[in-house]
Symmetry: D5
């Protein structure tokens, strides 16, 4: 059934990611530069280029133009993704350290959120995040900021 | 062997956590207030009270005094902990959302750190974190900031 | 350390659940009847009695009175719980069937939500649920209704 | 053995799903519109198109015609599927929330079913489900309804 | 909280199982003999005594009398159990062989059920089972019979 | 190394299963009819066609002829298989229900076998099984019978 | 329910194992010496003392006498055990090496058994095993011998 | 990158295993006959042919000649393998029974080795094994012998 | 059975570890100082005190005397331990980093050992290890040395 | 989408590893010899060739020239890798023994590091390692040295 006589095909988010990486390499752009071209953050831009978020339609179109992607990429970039991420803790040291931080501090974050806001959570949907370099005498530091809407539990 | 004729006993970090929770309840203090009493952050204070970090000796002593803990608690609070945290993703929604965020964005954080700093990681040891409430018209937001030293891989 | 000379103690949600089950048995009440006494739904009432949700303070007080629980139960019933549930699919047939339904239909629910609402999710926090009996000629049916707020992903 | 000289081939449910997705895209139809064309619910239609349920033969034929699928698709759509779904909790937030709901409330559903019906379960076989949008001032809501036949345990 | 001043207590199915085993030993009865006393099958009787099934109320009462159990055991024996069984394949050879049989033949059973009955399943709820010894020249054989109602999938 | 200049090739049990399914479809035969053609049971025939059992040589030859398979299929059908089955409980409802039955009743089967036969097991090697339809007023039933030789443990 | 007014109690295999270890220590006996006293092999004797096999009744009685165990130990030693062993590979190096051997050589053992005997297995029930020291110039060797009855698969 | 313009290629142990199986089939040899041709044991020969052991160079050359393998196979057969075996217990009954034996008896083997030799292990590296058929009235038996050097733990 | 009338009891390695920790605290000794008292390395001393290695009898006696342990501790310290360690990667950062190192470099160590020594392994039984502080301008370093006997695979 | 009309392609670290292995074989070089050509250690060289570390740019260029790799390999060799290693303990005996060592001794290393340095860890990032052969009368030994910077936990 691999050879059904079909003229259309389904371009996937994975295909578009490959096209973006090739274009990024050919144009010699950094993620920060790509993000600047479409006036979005580097975090969201990278994540959506990896297929883990959906671009708003006009941003999808802007990216398609900026990177010279085929037209049909626009629709794919704007599709709702299925977010599949590592449930087992990843082994790459750079990624692992973030799991270590969350593992150690999640109960603390929960306790402080409950103390300050009440019974509820920080949304991971109405959410944003940034990464920045902070100069420091004893070695520069990575600074990460997250902001998510507080959502209170419903009781009925 | 449960009844060896021993007069000393080993006070554990878990014991001290219980004592702290009882004292906190009796004194009616919040974590922020306890942290203020020993001039440390709420995040570190809660985490070390839970037995997931070691207090510097003078802070351990200050906490023992502030909460009226038994003297031997000071040494226990200053001991290096064995940090055991949930490797399987926790089910509590407030904690789960942080794993979801790290799961979705860890590859993005890695890519942006490598682009900005080179081949290395953000330290989870030389590290600090804060939580704050940010007022917002459509509902207040939880703001979390992390800062960790950049560590470059050694090549030899 | 089990015998620290402490006069206060920490009543847990698990303790209160035991007290509720004893009182329920002595008073011969059903969950529906208990829920009616505090004017809440049976689903939320049972769940919060099991320690999986927090009662609003006035409902906690009402329950404490209705079931003749000790006074300190009120505060415990109103505390934010840590929701720990079965990540491995449970083996009890009555519970298993719900996992089977979600396992089979989750991709369908996602597709239809995205088609109708856009890129986002149904909240499990701003959420409610009911169970009811529906008479039927070929055997009565169990009817379950869920309602959760639609939350759209943020792009930044 | 990939090249055995065989002229027949086995069309799989996966093949038909691909054909449906292509046809749906070409015709610009939503799942609700496809379901309407064959006079079935959107939930069952999507699920059976994904290969997780079997269409009644006449519905399979109607779908084949409505979407212009090859004739042999009819038989495939009517075959009993092998339902393989995620036993580990999925990471996609939209799907995850349903597992969270079932994880938190399955013991509650079991308790209320036993209280109302006796020792038994809600069938996941003689079962149906719907999804709908409910307008709401503070943001529209997703409403999900399930109905399954009550089955009592046999004792012998 | 271990010492709440409560005079009632909750007898569990596990407690009753222990009482049954003690009584069975004292009276020198086999499971077949116990089953005969209450006019039920040995399979169901053993399973319900182990806490994996609920006895019909009159059978629970009969068993309580036959084995000289305390009165409150009757209600416990008639309660709906939470069936928790080994999801990982058990290591005991006698139990393991049944998993091996089901592992090897489940796809075959599914295929033959679908061929004979259509798209559906054999119920594990409206179900019964027996074990018997069959004499044989080359060594006696264990004969197991299962019977479950056929349930057809609903389409809607 | 995919293109070593080799003229022979290894036909696998998986290849033969595919050939059987194609032939079965072309000839319009049920498993029961195929089994009848080689005078074996439907259970064993299906299982061995799926590659989970080895046919006796003369039966392999009979099947090859009955279904018009290539000659070399005979030897493959008679080879000892490596039986690989699902150790994690399968999700398909029809297969799952058998695991549920074994999960709930394996300790019961063990207890009754030990009571009747002594310390030993029911063999899964010297074993046979059948499936049948039993007419019933309230809905037909699936009847499954298993028979395995009792094997006593050796003591030395 | 821990304090039910019961005068009988259930001695378990675990209890008897503890009694045996205490007696063995007091009498200063090796496993080989204990085995010799009841005229059985050291392997079977140790295994049954650990609760992983059932002694024949007369051997159970002999052991009870030889080690001065309480009378009721005899019946317990003769009971069918539930064999629970490590499904995850154990970490103790002496035990691990046996899993490593079986892991590496199980496919080889299967191939050679099939070549020599036909489609079947070596029984682990009608089975025996010994351990011995073999003198060797470059360091003594551990010699292990196993013998199990060949069981041929049934075809029906 | 699948099509890099490279004229050399890497023959793997897996490739050689395939070549051996084809040659074995064409020549109609058993494993015992192949082992005899190179004057090694059947166990080691099969294992090394499967890629789980390295042949001594002269044996690799002898095998290459005996089976008519391409010259480069000699070097591959003599390479150190990466031994990857099933950590989860395999489901094939013939292989499973060996895990069952090791699972049940590993603690016994450890106890008897420690009693006879002291604190140490049986080596799985300086190790050998054989399989043989033993005639028996009640059915022939499979006899397996293992011998491994005793290694004492170092203390420093 | 917790209260069998037995006058002897079994002191376990876990008991002795507790006694050592209490004595170490009372005497104010470091592990290095304890090791020096019995003229062994700190690594082996700590590990054996934790119950993960067996002390040679004379060292066990020396330790018992040096720390004022009860006499029967000597025999326990000299017993062969069952080494149970974390198969899942531990979460404590100090321990985790060693798993990370082994995870990243194990294939490299294997390749270099094979290149230098041939087909074999580094023994973890005839093995020793040390930890030391190395002064360094940019921050002191931890130096770890391991030495294990090379063991060549047997071919037979 | 496999056949998008793209002229660029993405060379991966895996591709370069294959090229290196082919070149190493053709040139007949050992890892030690390759390392010498670029004046780096054998451990780092092998690891970075396997794609588990990034070469400094000038070393990447030197390696590309020394082994006659295509020019674009230089950039790939200098890219930050995603380090994916075995979280489940590997089965290969040579690699397994290192996990066994770390499993047994990680708590010891943690205790001795804390005793000597304070609350912190040995870095796995600012880290180096070597392997060497040490002559010995009773059989040569493998010597492994690791050195990592001590990192103290931050308190804030």
């Amino acid at each position: 059934m691999k050879d059904l006589n079909i003229t259309d095909s389904l371009m996937t988010k994975e295909d578009v990611t490959t096209l973006i990486l090739l274009s990024k390499k050919k144009l010699g752009l950094s993620w920060a530069e790509i993000a600047a071209k479409i006036d979005m953050s580097a975090v969201f831009t990278h994540s959506a280029c990896m297929g883990m978020n959906a671009f708003p339609p006009e941003k999808a179109a802007a990216l398609t133009e900026a990177l010279g992607l085929p037209d049909e990429a626009t629709a794919v970039l704007a599709e709702s993704p299925t977010k599949i991420w590592e449930q087992t803790v990843p082994t790459d040291p750079c990624m692992y350290r973030f799991y270590e931080i969350v593992g150690v501090y999640a109960p603390t974050l929960k306790a402080l959120i409950h103390e300050e806001f009440g019974d509820g959570i920080m949304s991971a949907i109405d959410f944003e995040m940034s990464v920045a370099r902070v100069k420091h005498d004893k070695g520069d530091r990575v600074k990460i900021e997250m902001s998510g809407k507080y959502l209170a539990y419903n009781a009925w």
